[in-house]
């Protein structure tokens, strides 16, 4: 068999393309990094699994958070920084959060400079709406399609540069020379041709991995390719146990289960009620009610249903009818259309049914806040695939500004690295051929084999059952057993058909990432034995102060297994720490609330 494989791949031809900077992913972060690198006069290649403009950024609805202070003049970077840290339960990288809060307004104005259009205030400024756990009205928006505006603006900006875009192309491996990342191997989805990208630096901007769960707001693309490619290349990952469950996903009909219902609905005054008609958020966060942080609202919605106060399809009610038809068409037109067309519900007349849905991954590749560099020379990361900014829970609206702030920084960081280095991006040809052989295996397998689609479903169900928004040690261990069982079966995968646009073959690539990430998530979730943000261990009582001072760092060990290290978070410097001094700040980020301490 082995010699057969070798003979086959020896005949395999592949193209070689060379760039200063290779960017993997064409969402907001990847495109912003590309603009930065081209502005530095470098040659740039962008690889994306989908068509340009279809990345998950397009799905963002509510807005982009930046402390412009257009409607609440008291807002400033300090408050945005504090909100971000509190919501992340203080395990965020404080320097990352500081840079983020300071630079977000510039990135919003830059978008406007490039043609993005936001809703306006009566004074002719960019309008800002309230959102969960933001102290001030802070989300710049255009109706409920802010992500579309962002990605289209960035797409048109990139089309006006010399960057070359490889649409519907998948990276399978990062290639290294010594310690450095010097390129990647890819195949085109259209016809299965291989491309060896030589690059002096690679920016990973591949987004998240919501597809490890069955009920998710993520598209098929959210398979976490970048985080596993980086992990395999020796990169450190951080906070991998932290998965965000968005409080409001659709529940009916079955085909749209998990589809996002924007937090903008609550931002515009939407009320949550249970089947008894109670505004139950009073019992969970009486101060902030529906606009509490996402982790708290998600657990509240979940608990109401589990305790028997759910709606007919197993959700809770989200009611925005008081806004009236005109108000809804002005502020939430996409939501109106989505419910009318897909669920036969007119949200101006009746409430929606919603339930938590897997939405976002706080953890990811550990990066230097200034440059987006990982610990592997030549490898940079930005956006959802990077970890550190959001800690244990992300605030709504922070992801879009994250993309731009750190997309730009990673592009600048990669450019500076390329300009300083003189290394060659050559690698041994044998390495390319070996990888091509591996990728083709599922197509060449003889005899019986397993379907990648069904393996993916099995994994998604295991993760729903064992690593959901309420976790216990026993159940996590059971889940780990299932995931490792699937890992052993990876070699059995077999796909039908040819290399010509074959989604079965593509899924066979994705499943390896999904399984590896699931293993990492469960293992880190077993380590964090407390209740903090998105990590909610029912077998432990509350936040553990000691664990509040550490991140769990994952790195592939010498045996090729998941190595986990507990790493101390350095103390906040005086200029940041003093921001919190005047206020009574609960270092668990509002999780210790006396009587109802569970929330």
């Amino acid at each position: 068999m082995a010699s057969n494989g070798n003979r086959d791949t020896a005949r395999e031809r592949y193209e070689t393309r060379e760039y200063d900077v290779l960017i993997v992913g064409a969402g907001g972060a990847g495109l912003r990094a590309a603009v930065a690198a081209t502005e530095n006069g470098l040659s740039v290649g962008i690889v994306t699994k989908s068509l340009l403009g279809k990345a998950h950024t397009v799905m963002a609805e509510g807005g982009i958070a930046a402390s412009l202070g257009n409607v609440d003049p008291a807002d400033g970077w300090q408050t945005h920084f504090m909100d971000t840290m509190k919501s992340g339960k203080f395990i965020n990288n404080w320097r990352t959060a500081e840079i983020f809060a300071k630079e977000a307004p510039d990135r919003v104005y830059e978008l406007e400079q490039w043609g993005a259009l936001f809703n306006r205030t009566p004074e002719g400024k960019i309008s800002q709406r309230p959102f969960g756990a933001h102290t001030y009205r802070r989300l710049c928006h255009v109706g409920d399609r802010t992500g579309l505006e962002l990605i289209r603006t960035m797409q048109e900006k990139v089309l006006a540069t010399d960057a070359e875009v490889y649409m519907e192309t998948t990276i399978t491996k990062l290639l290294k020379s010594g310690d450095r990342v010097v390129g990647a191997l890819a195949y085109t989805r259209e016809n299965g041709k291989f491309i060896h990208f030589k690059a002096k630096a690679v920016v990973m901007a591949t987004g998240g991995w919501g597809r490890i769960f069955k009920v998710t707001s993520n598209s098929w693309e959210g398979t976490g390719d970048g985080v596993v490619l980086a992990y395999d290349a020796g990169a450190e990952l951080v906070d991998m146990e932290m998965m965000q469950f968005h409080p409001t996903g659709m529940v009916w009909p079955p085909g749209v289960r998990g589809l996002l219902v924007t937090e903008g609905v609550r931002g515009e005054g939407g009320l949550l009620r249970n089947s008894e008609g109670d505004r139950y958020m009073e019992n969970y966060d009486p101060e902030r009610m529906e606009l509490s942080s996402r982790d708290v609202v998600a657990r509240a919605n979940y608990t109401e249903v589990q305790e028997g106060r759910g709606s007919p399809h197993g959700g809770v009610y989200l009611d925005i009818t008081h806004l009236g038809y005109d108000g809804i068409m002005n502020k939430l037109p996409t939501m109106h259309e989505q419910f009318l067309k897909l669920a036969d519900i007119d949200i101006s007349k009746e409430p929606m049914e919603v339930f938590p849905t897997v939405h976002y991954t706080m953890g990811g590749i550990k990066t230097d806040p200034e440059t987006g560099a990982s610990n592997v020379p030549g490898l940079f990361a930005a956006g959802e695939v990077a970890g550190g900014l959001h800690g244990a829970n992300r605030l709504g609206g922070n992801s879009l500004s994250d993309l731009l702030v750190f997309g730009r920084r990673a592009g600048e960081g990669a450019s500076a690295y390329v300009k300083e280095s003189v290394h060659s991006s050559d690698i041994a040809e044998g390495e390319v051929l070996t990888e091509i052989g591996r990728v083709l295996e599922p197509l060449k397998k003889q005899g019986e084999g397993e379907s990648p689609y069904l393996m993916q479903q099995e994994l998604q169900e295991a993760m729903m059952e064992h690593a959901n928004l309420m976790r216990t040690g026993d159940s996590l261990k059971e889940g780990l057993g299932k995931v490792l069982g699937l890992k052993d079966r990876l070699a059995n995968m077999k796909v039908q058909g040819s290399r010509l646009f074959n989604p079965g073959w593509h899924t066979a690539q994705d499943i390896r990432y999904l399984i590896q990430i699931s293993e990492i998530i469960i293992r880190t979730a077993l380590e964090r034995t407390e209740r903090r943000g998105a990590q909610w261990r029912l077998d432990f009582d509350g936040p553990d102060d000691e664990l509040g001072r550490v991140n769990f760092i994952v790195k592939k060990d010498e045996q090729g297994e998941v190595g986990i290290q507990k790493r101390e978070i350095p103390p906040m410097p005086e200029h940041l720490a003093s921001l919190f001094e005047d206020k009574v700040v609960d270092m668990a980020g509002g999780e210790k609330r006396g009587a109802e301490s569970q929330f």
């Binding site: 397009v58 579309l148 089309l159 098929w220 039908q496 074959n502």
Partner: protein, 287 residues
């Protein structure tokens, strides 16, 4: 402790305990039948598939079911499944539709034929090669401004720009347009999608470019004979013909066919009308 841990297990395992519960409840023994184009650039045929009908099912759900259970290599594009991204455009019974937004129930048991977009070369099954659209887009002068953001713009200055900016680039308007679909004038015609993009660029109060020459000479605006086919298929209800194409045609006519302007251009050279265009852009009553 024991009862506690039992409770915990109960709470954790009930987390979406039976992930198939809804499907089971919704399935009613009925089936859906689909005829899907299977083939590539060398040709192909319609193939029949039958699958369990789930309440509320859209055509994309059915296609993905077939892919997972009956035809693993069935090619289809999709991303958001919520009509926000425009990836899953195809032709259902000959009409361009978003697969994710078209309910099976709509056809009331009648035939459902699914083809790829026909105005572009087929790659495989339901996937067409639509890369031409990105080339056209690259040729359009991007937004450019002399002003420095933050801009002061009032709602009334920009409200008519929201409509063209809703475009999700499903390219169904391109697919249905006779100039492309029937007459194959891809080399000289940009298509409705890119008139929509030109519209907001031309009407943005802060933009300083003039695209009327390009619209007339390179983008073939004059080839459109306003049959409104594009407007009819737009999944986000952009009134492409009335609000994008006709105003642009009027601007081109004003610019190139107004005898007074023609004379001015003769006297002052080709770019003589720049200031006029800028003044119009800033005005509320622009077209």
């Amino acid at each position: 402790m024991d009862s506690n841990s039992a409770e915990q297990k109960d709470m954790a395992s009930k987390a979406h305990a039976d992930v198939h519960a809804d499907e089971k409840a919704a399935a009613n023994g009925k089936t859906a039948k689909l005829r899907i184009f299977r083939g590539d650039s060398g040709g192909g045929e319609l193939v029949d598939y039958e699958l369990p009908l789930v309440e509320g099912m859209v055509v994309l759900d059915a296609v993905l079911y077939v892919q997972a259970h009956q035809a693993g290599d069935l090619a289809v594009r999709w991303n958001c499944k919520a009509a926000h991204c425009g990836s899953c455009s195809a032709e259902i019974n000959g009409k361009p539709r978003l697969l994710c937004k078209t309910r099976i129930e709509e056809f009331d048991g009648g035939e459902i034929q699914v083809h790829p977009l026909k105005a572009f070369p087929v790659i495989k099954d339901l996937v067409s090669d639509i890369s031409w659209n990105y080339q056209v887009s690259k040729g359009i002068k991007p937004f450019t401004s002399d002003e420095q953001a933050p801009f002061t713009m009032y709602e009334e200055d920009v409200e008519r720009l929201y409509e063209p900016k809703k475009c999700i680039e499903c390219f169904m308007c391109q697919d249905v347009c006779h100039v492309l679909r029937t007459h194959h004038k891809h080399a000289e015609f940009a298509g409705p999608r890119f008139f929509v993009r030109n519209q907001w660029l031309e009407m943005h109060p802060m933009d300083n470019q003039d695209r009327l020459h390009d619209l007339k000479e390179d983008n073939g605006l004059g080839l459109c004979n306003i049959t409104k086919c594009c407007t009819e298929v737009c999944p986000v209800d952009i009134h492409i013909t009335d609000n994008s194409i006709i105003p642009l045609k009027e601007r081109v006519a004003d610019e190139y066919y107004d005898p007074a302007k023609w004379l001015m251009r003769k006297i002052r050279g080709n770019r003589g009308s720049r200031n006029g265009a800028a003044a119009r852009n800033g005005s509320r009553n622009g077209n």
